[in-house]
Symmetry: none
Subunit: 123 residues, 2 copies
């Protein structure tokens, strides 16, 4: 369900946040679905519960999930494409495209790089 890369340099908390956003965007998790509890996910991922807590707090403030004390945390309703984080991600990517293009990379080259990266990711 969630896959962490402990040696990627990307903060664990951020990986968890992005992971749930991804699961929502891909339709693996839908509005109303319950997330693992803070403690159980911490054990499963072998990280500190505080790290999960922090990730869930960020997800909630981003409107991706909502939490109910004593019950659990749940995926928020609504289209993932409407999420502010997705919009921000698109803006960041467009910025990257602009930068790469200014450094001389062509449309075709950029698309080849997209394929190259996503092929690696799939493994």
């Amino acid at each position: 369900m969630l896959q962490l890369d402990y040696k990627s340099g990307v903060p664990i908390c951020e990986q968890i946040v992005n992971g749930f956003i991804r699961l929502k965007a891909l339709g693996v998790l839908n509005g109303g679905d319950q997330l693992p509890s803070v403690r159980s996910l911490a054990i499963k991922l072998s990280v500190n519960p505080n790290t999960i807590q922090k990730a869930y707090a960020i997800l909630e403030s981003d409107g991706v999930i909502y939490s109910v004390k004593g019950k659990g945390s749940y995926m928020a309703e609504g289209s993932s494409s409407d999420l502010a984080v997705i919009k921000k991600a698109k803006e960041n990517f467009k910025q990257a495209v602009t930068s790469a293009n200014q450094l001389g990379l062509t449309n075709l080259e950029l698309k080849e790089l997209v394929d190259e990266v996503l092929k690696e990711e799939a493994e």
Copy 2:
């Protein structure tokens, strides 16, 4: 000439490396042009000389610049530095693809964004 964002989270050293690569790619700096000295740039950017030293060392190992003890550091000539610039641009872009994909953006969506941006650029 070089613009740093101290609160971006991106290491200063990395910003300096990318900055000179960008200046080379944009034609602001050309082969043979002398770079600011380690100490003067450190003062100008209000950072430690060791940070500049580290950035220059990375640029030199990447073939973007060359340094002569006692004289200074200079932009590398022609193809070698061009290759380094392209290589760096590709690395940066691949990183952006990975980030965007982690948030759920698909191969197709990313390619559409590439088209969207480059269509705007062409105008």
